[in-house]
């Protein structure tokens, strides 16, 4: 996917004015967080499970090389192949080679964010192989030549009419405003494609070192048809997804669905271990796992180490006020929201993604809901520091900070200034207690009001308190 992260600010500005998008985001803000809250409520051990999951992920990362080698040898034992890809390009080449070996014309695809990272679809198409996305959301996006704006609900930025429109155009059937009719249409369109495909490509949510199994978690069943029907199944996945045992995988599964959609359990949790066995009447004859690095191994031991705990549940973006206002596309690359603001600069470079770690209110909600307790605000702050040290932050920010630093080092002057600006803001706000427009800050006040400050500055209140006035 084309990188549009440098234009975050323009993207966000446009997004805030897009009515359709704002309608869709309104639903998201009401939907996911509420469902998650109910699921968490029903599982009294939920927060203890989070502690265990964090600790287990830390243990895995400490021993990542050993677990990966173990996983590899188990896949081989069960008759499968493991390929290691340092970069996205490496991964694409490996997959194309496998497709060529079996003379593939079409491949079906289950949802995989790693394949978005590597631009797999474009690559296959450029090499004469037709990829068909089968997850309903991804299918809609592929028809529209669009990209996911959310890691588990890829088409969340679209409304019913957008889907109806594109289905009418591509399927040649009458338009409908009934989601059930549209889904039925997609089901019928894709049925024969599942059967006709030469290769099925899926992602993986976890890799089990004990057994050499990969697991996918889906509600639609598209991933299962994708991996069961074609002769060859390729799993494209990344190195941090390995877990030790089935019991360990279970710990993460208990957290994943609840954090993501608020479901007790996702409909289909499917383990794949090697190709079809003797006597099996169906299932793939070849089983390949492509382990993608793409910058992850460099995160090990770095200040971003903890990000490798991420299980891609999407809770952080579902609860993020910034994501909830501008949607996923504004972030300009594969991973949006708080997790994307940490990952994207690592994967495409801080020069291009510097805006993202700054697109945060630091409200801390993301860390509060993260099932593996990743300190996302802290990691975003690391990027801000990083950016500052590299002199990449915009001039306004550098001068602003320098100016603030000047006054902060001169307490008397600082107090006088803050008392004066407090008065100024209160005068602007009047009785309503909200500032509707502020000179030079229309970027803020065009879309929301600013509450007026309290009567007294913090320092004044502090002194009053010390003197026993309150």
């Amino acid at each position: 996917m084309q990188i549009r992260s440098p234009e975050f600010k323009e993207n966000a500005r446009t997004a805030l004015k897009e009515e359709g998008l704002q309608r869709a985001l309104g639903k998201l803000r009401a939907g996911f967080p509420e469902k998650r809250a109910i699921a968490v409520e029903r599982m009294p051990e939920f927060h203890d499970l989070r502690d265990e999951a964090r600790d287990l992920k830390n243990h895995i990362l400490e021993n990542l090389d050993i677990y990966l080698e173990q996983f590899e040898s188990k896949v081989q034992e069960s008759g499968g192949h493991v390929h290691w890809a340092r970069t996205g390009d490496d991964a694409n080449k490996i997959i194309l080679d496998i497709c060529k070996q079996v003379n593939a014309k079409t491949v079906t695809k289950g949802k995989s964010m790693v394949s978005e990272e590597t631009n797999l679809n474009e690559y296959l198409e450029a090499n004469g192989i037709q990829p068909v996305e089968t997850d309903l959301g991804e299918y809609i996006l592929q028809l529209r030549e669009d990209h996911p704006s959310h890691i588990i609900a890829p088409a969340i930025h679209l409304n019913l009419s957008d889907v109806s429109e594109i289905f009418h155009e591509k399927h040649g059937k009458p338009k409908s405003d009934d989601p059930a009719v549209l889904m039925q249409e997609a089901r019928e369109e894709l049925r024969n494609k599942f059967v006709a495909a030469d290769v099925g490509i899926t992602g993986a949510n976890f890799l089990v070192a004990e057994t050499g199994s990969t697991i996918i978690v889906t509600n639609e069943g598209n991933g299962d048809l994708t991996q069961t029907l074609p002769k060859t199944h390729i799993v494209i996945t990344s190195i941090e997804k390995v877990v030790p045992t089935l019991e360990d995988m279970t710990l993460f599964l208990r957290l994943l669905a609840r954090s993501a959609t608020g479901q007790e359990f996702t409909v289909y949790n499917t383990l794949s271990t090697g190709p079809r066995r003797e006597g099996d009447a169906d299932g793939p004859e070849n089983f390949h796992v492509v382990l993608v690095d793409n910058g992850r191994s460099e995160m090990v031991g770095s200040e971003f180490h903890e990000m490798l705990r991420c299980i891609r549940c999407s809770a952080c973006m579902n609860h993020c006020p910034v994501y909830g206002s501008v949607g996923g596309h504004a972030y300009g690359w594969v991973y949006p929201g708080p997790m994307g603001s940490v990952l994207t600069p690592k994967m495409i470079g801080i020069e291009k993604a510097g805006n993202l770690p700054n697109a945060s209110t630091f409200c801390g909600k993301c860390e509060e809901v993260c099932p593996v307790r990743i300190p996302l605000p802290k990691l975003m702050r690391h990027w801000r520091n990083n950016e500052f040290e590299k002199h990449l932050s915009p001039k306004a920010v550098r001068w602003g900070l320098a100016g603030w630093g000047f006054f902060a080092k001169r307490p008397t002057l600082y107090r006088q200034l803050s008392t004066a600006s407090n008065w100024f803001m209160r005068t602007l706000g009047g009785k309503k207690g909200r500032v509707k427009s502020l000179p030079m800050a229309s970027g803020w006040t065009d879309f929301r009001d600013l509450p007026t400050p309290t009567d007294k500055t913090f320092m004044q209140q502090w002194n009053d308190k010390k003197e026993g006035k309150q």
Partner: protein
């Protein structure tokens, strides 16, 4: 090439070379122990209550449950269900458990043992276990039970014996290891309710790509 680079990058990040013998041993001990992590209390119940929990969780996930007192009742019940829904063909797994039943109640309805194909309306399979915690069925691939039966037809009928219901997932993994030893079956399917999607305007719709209807025939053996 990539493999060596990735592994050495990881090791460099961890501030060490190849892991020491002691560290490897600790990892393998952990792998071999297959210890449980925290298991929620919800399903730690006497068996009869686990069965009740299974039923309510499966129904919550929109599965239909029909209780029967013996497998001998399966053909008649299935026939009624298919007739009520106007379905004329049943694709079946070839488990002995199903084959030894008297299927004459089916009458005109064809029972065929094969892999599933596009257009199939209904399939019937057995199951390996039921997991009470979330009302989840566990099935696995094998010669007698092609995996396509679980995903392609519109309706999936599953025979589940009450005695195979366990509390948490962990107990199902123990059963899998007990049956297969070290090598897993090609696929293990955990199924909780029928297929669904909320990808169109965040509105939940049943029957995306997998079965629209999941019927559990619970045998009170």
């Amino acid at each position: 090439m990539s493999r060596a680079e990735i592994l050495s990058n990881i090791r460099r990040g961890l501030g060490r070379g190849e892991a020491s013998e002691a560290q490897r041993k600790a990892v393998f001990n952990r792998l071999n122990a297959k210890a449980n992590n925290l298991i929620p209390k919800r399903s730690q119940l006497p068996h009869a209550e686990q069965v009740e929990l299974f039923k309510s969780m499966a129904q919550e996930a929109s599965a239909e449950i029909i209780e029967l007192s013996s497998t001998a009742d399966v053909p008649k019940t299935v026939t009624d269900w298919l007739q009520n829904n106007g379905i004329k063909e049943l694709i079946s797994s070839s488990d002995a458990e199903l084959n030894e039943l008297d299927w004459s109640p089916l009458g005109d309805i064809q029972r065929t043992q094969r892999v599933a194909m596009v257009g199939d309306m209904a399939s019937i399979t057995t199951s390996f276990a039921g997991i009470a915690e979330t009302g989840t069925l566990m099935l696995h691939s094998r010669g007698e039970s092609p995996t396509t039966l679980n995903f392609l037809p519109d309706v999936h009928l599953v025979v589940l014996k009450r005695s195979t219901i366990v509390g948490p997932y962990e107990d199902a993994w123990k059963k899998i290891r007990g049956t297969f030893g070290k090598s897993m079956p090609r696929t293990v399917n955990m199924i909780t309710g029928p297929s669904r999607s909320a990808d169109i305007e965040q509105t939940l719709q049943m029957g995306a790509h997998g079965p629209r209807t999941l019927v559990i025939l619970l045998i009170n053996d």
